[in-house]
Structures are given as structure tokens and as C-alpha cells.
Symmetry: C3
Subunit: 317 residues, 3 copies
């Protein structure tokens, strides 16, 4: 079967999902990302790798934060960056998404960064564009958010060195989370032996066990002896109907407090894709505490996005 992310030489053509992404490509991205960070792991600096290239951020769903990380990554690679918020644009004039894409291709785009509220949008665009154009999925519906998962993997490797001896828990609204899906596939591919999800039944997809994860409904058991805690954002704006009693009730059961974090290993790290709902899924003492690596994720996120872009730009055959 054909992997739509790879070209005929088996190289990365698009980054659409971590599902089926070969381990050698994941590791190549992580290694490349290291090269963009200074020795202290705190800064990325400007390099001319994409000079003269045009990167289009096409966001059919608004996200200043994610758009900004890609914009910075592209500018640090010396690309020209054009931001398009398509909500307020041509599609509202009745143009189809693929007409918009065709037009941007005809303007000679080299790379598209796509966010869309519909699952599969980035795949659709990737199948549609000419072979010299690369597509990066910056989040599509509930489906995938591969750069987030890759920066999470980078962060885990940075602090834990290895994947094959880890116990990782993903906590929260797995049902609506493209981040969780992409994390599970990436962790599996990188050889993490034990992946847990912790959530109330109402926030878990049907048959989530089929993804190879262990399911827990309480934090005491779920966090027991884990090395890594991956918190998810409670996406209030995406909730439909009454899946939850209230924020306080949720916090009581699933909010990550210092007390609950005590069930994990003493050197466990705490991660969150942001933006955080403090006092709902995470307590401020944990978010700002010594085990939190949440801001390192952001720094590494720039480096990982630079790495993805430069890997893609190098694969022009």
C-alpha cells in the first residue's frame, strides 16, 4: 500500500500524520531539530536553508499560537512567509478549498502549512498538489497534529534519552484530541512499551484499546509509576452536549495536582500542548513546578518545525 506521505524514493514528501510514519524519518527529524538548537537547548537561530522559498500558512481554522510557531520556524529558515486566514477570504465568496489551493500553487508556493476543522483536509490537499509542493498538516479536525506529536517526542527524548523503557500516560479529553492520536502513533513507532490513557468514559473514543493503549479511569492507578505525563487540553469550545458535569468536578477527578502527580515516578516529566486551562485540567503549582517541561516543548517546537520544513525542502526529486 502507498504511504501518501512518502515519495517514490521513500523520502518524506508531506507530513500529514504520525500514523505509518517510518521510524527512520521520525528520528531524522528529531536529529535535525537538535542541530537547530544551541548547546543549552534554549534558542534557535537564523539559517538560510529556505532562502527564496515561499511558505504559505493557510489556516481554515484560526490559531494564532500554532500559526506563529510555523511563521517563526519558516522565517528562521529565511523563507518568505505568507499568512492566510481563509475564514475571512475567498471560500466565503463561494470558492472551493481546492480552487484556493490551486491558486496558491499557481503563485508558486513551495510549502503549505494547513490547519482545518475537518479531518482529512491536509490529505486532500496533499493528493491534489503538484509533486514539487510539500504539505504540512498543522491540525485537521480530530484526526492528527503530527508536528505537535513530534515536538513531544523530541521533548521526551531530551529528558529521558530513550523510549524503549518508558511508561507514558496521556490524560484527558482523548475523544476530541488530534494531539492524543498523533502522540499514540508516534510513541508506538518509537518503541514505548507502555502507553496509558486516563479519562472518563465519555471522553474516550470507542475501542480506544485497539490503538494499543491501556485504559484507566482514575488518576491514582493510571499515573502509578509513569515516567511521562502528557496532559491534554480540555477543549471546551469543541465539546458538544453535556459530556462533563463541570470544570470543578473535572478538576477534582482528572486535574493534575501535586498530590496526583505524586503517584508518578519522582522524576516524571509533565507536558501539555497548550494553551492550558489552569485549574481545570492542570493546577498552577504543577504547570509552573519543577517537573513541568511545558515551556521547553514550545522552544523545541520551533526547532522541530524548522526540521520538518528543511527535511521536506531537501526532498525535491
Amino acid at each position: 500500500m502507498n504511504n501518501p506521505q512518502l515519495n517514490r524514493h521513500g523520502e518524506l514528501q508531506h507530513l500529514l500524520t504520525t500514523e505509518g510514519l517510518p521510524v527512520r524519518i521520525m528520528l531524522d527529524i528529531l536529529d535535525r531539530a537538535s542541530s537547530f538548537l544551541d548547546a543549552a537547548g534554549r534558542e534557535t537561530r537564523k539559517v538560510p536553508l529556505l532562502h527564496g522559498k515561499s511558505v504559505f500558512n493557510i489556516f481554515f481554522e484560526n490559531s494564532t499560537r500554532t500559526r506563529t510557531t510555523f511563521e517563526i520556524a519558516a522565517k528562521r529558515l529565511s523563507a518568505d512567509v505568507v499568512n492566510l486566514n481563509i475564514g475571512s477570504s475567498s471560500t466565503s465568496k463561494g470558492e472551493t478549498m481546492l480552487d484556493t489551493v490551486d491558486n496558491l500553487c499557481a503563485m508558486h508556493a513551495d510549502m503549505f502549512v494547513v490547519r482545518h476543522s475537518e479531518s482529512g483536509a491536509a490529505h486532500l490537499i496533499a493528493r491534489h498538489v503538484a509533486p514539487e509542493i510539500h504539505v504540512i498538516n498543522a491540525g485537521d479536525g480530530r484526526h492528527a497534529h503530527p508536528t505537535q506529536a513530534l515536538l513531544d517526542m523530541f521533548t521526551i527524548r531530551h529528558y529521558k534519552k530513550e523510549f524503549h523503557n518508558l511508561r507514558v500516560a496521556i490524560v484527558g479529553d482523548v475523544l476530541h484530541s488530534r494531539v492524543a492520536r498523533s502522540q499514540i502513533h508516534a510513541l508506538t513507532t518509537l518503541g514505548v512499551p507502555e502507553i496509558r490513557v486516563i479519562a472518563p468514559k465519555t471522553l474516550l473514543p470507542a475501542a480506544v484499546e485497539n490503538l494499543g493503549v491501556q485504559v484507566y479511569h482514575d488518576m491514582a492507578h493510571g499515573l502509578k509509576d509513569v515516567d511521562v505525563v502528557l496532559m491534554l487540553r480540555l477543549q471546551n469550545e469543541r465539546m458538544q452536549g453535556a459530556l462533563l458535569p463541570s470544570g470543578q468536578e473535572y478538576f477534582k477527578n482528572y486535574g493534575l495536582t501535586e498530590e496526583k502527580l505524586g503517584f508518578a515516578k519522582s522524576d516524571a516529566i509533565v507536558m501539555h500542548p497548550g494553551p492550558m486551562n489552569r485549574g481545570i485540567e492542570i493546577d498552577s503549582r504543577v504547570a509552573d513546578g519543577s517537573q513541568s517541561v511545558i515551556l521547553s516543548q514550545v522552544t523545541f517546537g520551533i526547532a522541530v518545525r524548522m526540521a520538518v520544513m528543511s527535511v521536506l525542502a531537501g526532498n525535491n526529486k
Copy 2:
């Protein structure tokens, strides 16, 4: 009489309209545009011609697509580009348009790209600014859209080589279309001997014949033996009152289908300024068919806008 687009040496000072634009300047822009395209006519590449110059896209009427083409063109010329959507800005604080322009001039703008819903806005600004500043009209009311017309001329020349032996039909909502007006003036200046407009009476301006065009109300006669079909966008958002029975009714009579295109010459090309209303003014089989050069228009549009900007920037006396 004084042509407000030309400086005292007869060179292009502003690009406001194709009406009265000398043929030598039009051809200079088309030739210059060729120089920005690669041999295959598919790509424009970065050049340093406007390095250190500041281009301001001031859009009093929102248009992501048009703004993007100018932004890309300016960045490929290495200019600094600042985008201003003035709807949400100072004019809403009670500042007049010319105060806004004065302020931007005082920030040392080199070039303004202006879109405005009122006819004549770009002329007003051009008359107002200091002589070292250049103004490009990116569409003013129902009046003019000269860069669109010039890229259309570039496209016609690319595919048909000559203008003097062509029969060209403009189809659709001529009444509300600044594109049609600019096309008619450009085609006339470049020596096209036969220009037709095809539209229902309700979508034609009074006395349109005075522009030197032949008027048709049905596609069978209007498209007969033409070399070029210039489709117009049906601008639903600009319609006032009930000029049209319905989209389906319009499509039946004036929508460009393969069948109707059969009236034209077999090598006729089909063009559209975008965004298209598929199934209203154009059928998808035609839009995506072998005679369509719609996406080439977009590619050429970048090169033509680069050409206009570089011609203007070279005329500083």
C-alpha cells in the same frame, strides 16, 4: 490633457487604469514580466530589485487573494511589505482616508497598493502623494483593475502570440465589473480588432457600445468563432436588487459549458479572474478542461505585478 499616470518624461508614475495607458508602457510591462518567469513560464524567483523599499498594501475593501498576489510579488522583489486592512483601523476612528495616506507617506512608503470600494479612490490618493511615491490601483469600485487586465493581456499574448488578429468575448456581469472595463481598454490599445460582450441587458452598462464593443445577449452568437473567452465573476455580494432570476437560470443561459464553448474556435482559450462560482458562470468541466488557462493567469499575475512594481520603482526622477 495631462495623464495622471505618467510623469513629465512620459514614464509610468502610477498604475491606475488601463484607459489611456500608452501601448509602449503596456508592452514594456509585459516584456518585463516575461523576464521574471522561468523558461517553462511556471515560476517566478526572488530578485533584489526592490531591496530596502517599503510597499504598503492598503486595502479598504478586504481581498485576501489579491492582497496575497501583491504581497508575494513584492517579497519576490525583496521589498519590505506591510499589510493594512483599513476597515478595522484608523478610518473607523474617524480619520479620513487622506490622513491615513499622509501618515503612511510620512513613514516613508515607496509604493502603495490600494483597493477601495469607491471608484476613483486610487486616483485621489495618487494626486495627493509626494512625487517619489507610486500608487498601484488594485481595484476601485466598478472603475478599474489594471493589473488584472494586464495579466490577462500577458496570458493572451502567451497563448496567441499576437493581438491584431483576435476575436475576444467578455462574458457575464459587465455592469458591476471593473475587470471588464480594464480589459476592454487594454484589448483596444493593444489592437484587438473585435471585442464582444455577452450578457443579459440587466448586466450591461448603458451605452456599452460606446466603448467600441459589439453586444450580444446569447452565447451561441456571441461565442461564434472567438479566440479568447474572458469569463467574469458573478458578484453576488455586489448585486443590488433583483437583476437576476436565479443562479440556475443564469447558468442555463450564460454559464460556460463544454457545449457552449463549442461555438468558439477549437483552440480558443478560457480565462477567469477568480474566484470562480462553479456551476453559476462556469461549468467545472470547462474550468478544469484543456482549454482553460485560468491557473496560468495566476502564475502570470505574480510576474506582471512584479513587472509593474519594478517599472514604477525605476521611474524616480
Copy 3:
């Protein structure tokens, strides 16, 4: 007491307010600004001083005009600029302002330009960020707008050469004006011996005399023999309740007409921070008249902002 704007070497670390800003730093900024202007004082040109640096314009309160001046200043210094309108962003998803700032810091920002409707926001951010990051206050509530005041000082010095022999009047809505506060502190520090405010009682802060200014309630006395007239914008959008009878009534009493300007010295200059309400606080004949230096303020504003950014960028210890 510790000045939060200075580092431990007494150098400028952040620009938050003109209150307490040492005179040597003010003069350094004004001198540096001169160096960015051409001999005629009309243009600023591109220099590579901030190449590779990332400047983030984070605007919690929308202002296209102010954001544009900082964007241009940063681009003329060759920085990478990222614009964030936070109203439509993460804070609306429930993230706190400081979480947003932490995230941007983690993306390796070098400089923040901050506008916020709450007084003290820029101070709060400056106290929060790491020592290698610089914060520029682009306006916080009614508190301060230091770059506006510094560009005003630059303009006064440009036209009047000295500060120690001047009589300066500030006219209008002092109560709601961060500009007036910042002007008063800057004028005082630079040694202006007589500063007047002219306004109806309802538009003056309580105990405004404590700032060292003389209070006038009518223009005839207030403008008598002044060298500089600093007009304020009547901020209709910020007025709460009925502080004013009407625009016409205000114009009759406090609007700057040629007649009222006649009370000032014959070579007095007229300034306004923009955008102007013509016919409310200022008559068009004055705004566009020979004593108006309002557009020079805008040009100098780019140079002063370049100066502030380059001074800050040089103070990395």
C-alpha cells in the same frame, strides 16, 4: 529604589514609561534617532542592526497605526517581525496573558512591543520575562505611551533646538490620555520650564497640578505666548458617561483654530499624536497649515522607534 527600566549597569533594559527615565538615556535615544534620518530629516533607511532578531508585536488592544510604525521600524533594522493580535487568540481560549508571554519567550523572542488596555500591563510583562528579553510599552491604559512622548521630544528639539527656554501647552482630554502623562514627564526631565495643560475640568485628572503643570480652562490664556502646542486626541471611544456636551461645543471652546493659535507665539509649532478628529479638537486649516509639524512627527516616530529598539538590543549583558 529600583528603576524597572534599567539593568544593573544603569542601561535601558525596557522602555515602559518616561517617568523616571534618566535624561542621558532620553538624549541618547534622540541622538541615535537622528542617525537614522537622512540629512533632510525625511527618510529612514534599512540597516542590519537587528538582523536575526525576532520582534513580536503583541497587541491586546487593536491599533493598526501604532503596530505599523513598530513593524516598519523593526523591518528597517532587518529584524524578523511577528504580529499578534491577541484579542482573537489564546487569551480568548482562557489562557492568561503571562502564559501567552511565556510561550512567546520560549519561541525565543528578543523583543516585545506591547499594547494593552490595562495600565501596568507592560510593567507586569517586563517583570516576568527573562533578562535577555526587552519590552517596549506601546501604550497601556491611561498610564504611559513613552515612544510617542519621545518622538514628540525629538520633534520639539528638531524645530526649537533647546528645551530650557520653552513654554509648552498640552490641550484636550488629559484625563484619559497616556500620551499627556508621558509628555509631561519627558518635558519635565528635559528641562522645559513651563508646561501648561488646557482642558475643561471634566477632562483633567484630580490634582493634575502635582505633576508640575499650570492649569488653564480657556485657550486665550492657556495658549498665550507658548512655543509648542501639543494637541490631544478626543478619545470618543474611551469616554464613559457624559463628560462633554457635544463635539461642536467642544470645538467652539477647545478646538484649535487659526484664531486661537494666534494667541501663541508667531513661530509656535502645532503637534498631534494622531489620528486627528478634524473639526473636533483641531481645525483643518491648522492641521494642514504652516505651523503644523504633525506629519514630521510620524517620520520622526519611525526613527525614534528604531533608536529605542537598537539601544535596547545593544544592552545585553
